[in-house]
């Protein structure tokens, strides 16, 4: 009984914190000379009011879910991996490489599979570097992963402006469009099967963490690395594995962006997705199932941002502010009662 009222109280507090932030943003919008109620109305109607809007939210959420799950895995091993951004980018880059130079003449499914492997590999290499720096030299992974995001961005730009540049694109920095057969099948207009993949990854991860012996070991390391060491676990190996898996998932998210959404690589592909995914994981207290919901919320805010621009002429970066405010609201509210795993 006590538990139930407590959890209701916590949920109400969260809603309250979010409502306050929505009001604050509304006031901010008013100072910019627009009617917040109308804008909020537009945001909801255009995203959730029609199937296209919903589809857009789903499309946006898929990479966030995957990065969030990736972040959660490394967090369970006691690592703060903020490098989803770079891992996604390198994954997307490698997948595009495969699509443009290797898989062109292959049958679709084989090509897609190859892209998937390339994406996973790219992400894993990128996270693996940070992992190596962590376990071999004890370098703080939060800092290295963030810094490597910037490097990844430069690498992607290097190729997109260089050998990957579409010769027909005039001066636009982007890769050629990948072949149609390499695109992921759609379940609805513009919505690929990527979302199923993302949800499946989340569920499998949740099961593994909760039920398997591996998950148990991971949780021991995340809870107290010293205890894991004393229990004979190879902390470095397990952390390294967690980093690699984490990066691979983010890399796959990048591949899905190419094969399922954009069809080609731009310098802007997936920009900020890594951070959104990280924050989604964090909002979900690193629970992969809860991360699905938080990712959808963030996806919703992203899509709603375009509405802001279209209907009021305000910069779309306004949503970043709203998103930051929402996160601050959640941070303000805190985890509440301690959950036992």
């Amino acid at each position: 009984m006590k538990d139930k009222t407590e959890s209701i109280k916590q949920a109400l507090l969260t809603v309250l914190a979010l409502a306050v932030m929505v009001v604050i943003f509304g006031v901010f919008l008013m100072t910019q000379g627009v009617n917040p109620i109308q804008i909020y109305g537009d945001m909801i109607v255009s995203t959730l009011g029609n199937s296209y809007g919903i589809g857009q939210v789903v499309v946006k959420s898929s990479p966030f879910i995957m990065v969030a799950v990736a972040t959660a895995i490394s967090a369970k091993a006691g690592l703060v991996n903020v490098g989803g951004e770079g891992q996604l980018a390198i994954g997307a880059l490698l997948a595009t490489f495969v699509a443009v130079f290797v898989a062109k003449s292959m049958p679709g499914p084989v090509g897609i599979l190859l892209m998937l492997v390339a994406g996973a590999l790219g992400g894993a290499v990128w996270s693996g570097l940070a992992g190596l720096m962590k376990v071999k030299a004890g370098m703080n992974e939060t800092l290295t992963t963030v810094i490597m995001n910037y490097i990844a961005y430069d690498i992607v730009s290097f190729f997109v402006y260089g050998i990957l540049k579409d010769p027909e694109s005039f001066s636009w920095p982007m890769s050629p469009e990948i072949a149609d057969k390499l695109r992921l099948p759609e379940i609805y207009v513009g919505v690929s099967i990527g979302i199923f993949g993302a949800v499946a990854v989340a569920i499998v991860t949740w099961l593994v963490l909760k039920k398997s012996a591996c998950g148990f070991r991971l949780r021991v390391i995340g809870g107290n690395a010293e205890a894991a060491k004393h229990a004979g676990f190879s902390v470095a190996k397990i952390q390294m594995a967690a980093m690699l898996i984490s990066g691979a998932i983010s890399g796959i998210a990048g591949m899905v962006e190419i094969a399922g959404v954009e069809g080609r690589l731009r310098t802007t592909t997936g920009v900020n997705y890594g951070y959104y995914g990280f924050l989604a994981a964090w909002m979900a207290w690193n629970n992969p199932l809860a991360a699905i919901i938080t990712s959808v919320v963030i996806g919703f805010l992203c899509v709603a941002g375009n509405v802001l621009e279209q209907s009021s002429g305000l910069p779309s970066s306004g949503t970043k502010i709203l998103m930051a405010l929402v996160l601050l609201g959640i941070l303000w509210k805190g985890k509440g009662r301690k959950k036992c795993s």
């Binding site: 205890a227 004393h230 229990a231 795993s341």
Partner: protein, 512 residues
């Protein structure tokens, strides 16, 4: 100095404090006089520290009152400081990253801070000369040993204001026997200067000689008060402390099984043991552990016990020397290999080394405890909990309900869980640090029994303890960390605590 019997500095009336349902102290009527050393003795968990923290204002009493100079005071540490009541905490309130001088500076009251540095340093020197507590003001506290840190803490407290009452919480626990004697001398000269001194300790024998009053605390209440002028009744004091159980240390000799042939399980040769700061603590140490043997490891705390055990267990790498386990060279092997070879470690700091936040007790038993079985990809928890339910060690050592979160338990309770887990593993080699720390007399007895039983099954045990009596009663042989060397095995039947103590100190002198 004559004690003024009518004007106590501090007087308490019916002091009581409760934490939730737990009454930590009640019916406390205590008087503290100038020029008097009053010892508050009691077992671990008798409520001594809580009482002192109420006097110092860290805890607020649930009911009752504290009078200072006959006036009622709602104590806080700040008020205590102003009234001249200082406390030397067990876990010193000093910052390792700072120098002694910086630590003292921080504690100084407003009017003192303004003075030039040289003057403050001079005062530090004066105090340290007066009470013979040498301190280097410019040394980083982090580089000092525990005795030096205590001296910094004492000087700091003395300089915090016009002190009249000094409270010491288990001050001798970090000191060598010889240092403890010097410490007692310091207390006496402080008393002669008119300080009122409150001494909390569970080591009655150390304070008998110097105390003017001994107050015994048990289960949070004062159960006995004796004054020096009327003479102490040691037997009575002890029995009051223990609550009637006077038999402290059983002799386990007749319970011990005699092994026909000697089987060497572990052999360390020429081992150099380093601490985290790369300082060599033990040089060219040799240690042989045989099946069916309890070796007591004696030594001043912080002299390499922890590092030795961690090196044997593989937490630290053995850089110099050789280690064979069961005849195999394991010098460079991993913790995992050693666990598989049948080794278990009960750490001296399980909170740091073993406790995983958020995990239940039974989940911890899957970490180097009884053998675990698997169900598909997962751990078979049912099997593990069944084993725990039928385990004798779990029952006898009083492991709390297994679904409780381990991190929320007290230190003593965590310790018994860790020991029970190690016993359930049925190890060939057990390295146990302070397995009886923080436990009541009955459970300590149980711990000893358990160790002896394990020994009789052929396990080889290395037991670390601060309590020499405990080591002497349980062990088959004793090894002493003497300075930076490990002694040969000594026979507890023919060696006295005093001799061991001498070895512990002798080494230290030698090193200097």
């Amino acid at each position: 100095m004559k004690i003024n019997k009518f004007n106590p500095i501090i007087k308490t009336n019916q002091l009581k404090i409760r934490f939730g349902d737990f009454v930590a102290n009640q019916n406390i009527n205590l008087s503290v006089y100038a020029g008097q050393i009053q010892s508050i003795v009691g077992e671990n968990g008798a409520g001594k520290s809580t009482l002192m923290k109420m006097l110092y204002g860290t805890y607020k009493p649930t009911s009752g009152e504290i009078l200072v100079d006959r006036e009622r005071v709602h104590m806080t540490p700040q008020i205590a400081m102003r009234l001249g009541i200082g406390m030397v905490f067990q876990d010193f309130r000093i910052i390792p990253a700072f120098t002694a001088f910086e630590n003292i500076m921080m504690a100084l009251p407003k009017e003192k801070r303004k003075r030039p540095k040289e003057e403050i340093k001079k005062e530090i020197c004066e105090i340290s000369q007066k009470y013979k507590i040498p301190v280097d003001p410019d040394m980083l506290v982090g580089q000092m040993d525990l005795g030096q840190r205590q001296r910094v803490e004492i000087i700091k407290v003395l300089m915090m204001g016009k002190m009249r009452v000094l409270i010491f919480d288990e001050p001798t626990s970090v000191l060598t026997q010889q240092e403890a004697q010097e410490f007692i001398k310091m207390l006496q000269s402080m008393r002669d200067d008119g300080y009122a001194i409150l001494l909390i300790t569970h080591k009655l024998h150390e304070v008998m000689a110097c105390s003017d009053v001994i107050t015994v605390l048990r289960h949070g209440e004062i159960v006995e008060k004796e004054e020096k002028e009327n003479g102490y009744d040691q037997e009575r004091l002890i029995s009051k402390m223990m609550g009637g159980e006077v038999t402290i240390h059983t002799d386990y000799e007749d319970q011990k099984k005699v092994f026909e042939k000697e089987e060497v399980l572990l052999e360390g040769k020429d081992m150099s043991i380093y601490n985290a700061q790369h300082r060599e603590l033990i040089r060219h140490g040799n240690l042989t552990m045989k099946a069916g043997e309890i070796i007591g490891l004696a030594g001043i705390s912080g002299r390499g016990q922890r590092e030795l055990l961690e090196t044997l267990f593989g937490v630290n790498v053995l850089k110099m020397g050789q280690l064979t386990i069961d005849g195999k060279d394991m010098t460079k092997s991993s913790i995992r290999d050693r666990i598989e070879a049948g080794m278990a470690l009960v750490s001296e700091d399980p909170k740091r080394d073993n406790v995983v936040a958020g995990m239940k007790i039974y989940e911890h038993f899957a970490l180097n405890g009884p053998e675990i079985s698997y169900k598909k990809v997962g751990i078979n928890w049912k099997d593990l909990t069944d084993k725990m339910d039928t385990s004798k060690a779990v029952k006898e050592l009083g492991v709390p309900e297994k679904t409780r979160e381990l991190a929320t338990l007290s230190g003593g309770n965590i310790q018994r869980c860790m020991l029970a887990r190690a016993v359930m593993k049925q190890p060939k080699i057990l390295l146990a640090s302070y397995p009886s720390r923080g436990l009541d007399v009955g459970t300590v007895e149980m711990v000893h029994q358990t160790l002896v039983e394990l020994r009789n099954q052929g396990c080889s045990i290395l037991l670390v303890s601060e309590d020499l009596e405990e080591l002497l009663s349980v062990s088959d042989s004793i090894v002493v960390i003497s300075g930076d060397t490990l002694t040969e095995k000594l026979d507890p039947k023919t060696t006295s605590a005093l001799e061991i103590g001498d070895l512990m100190i002798g080494g230290k002198e030698h090193e200097r």
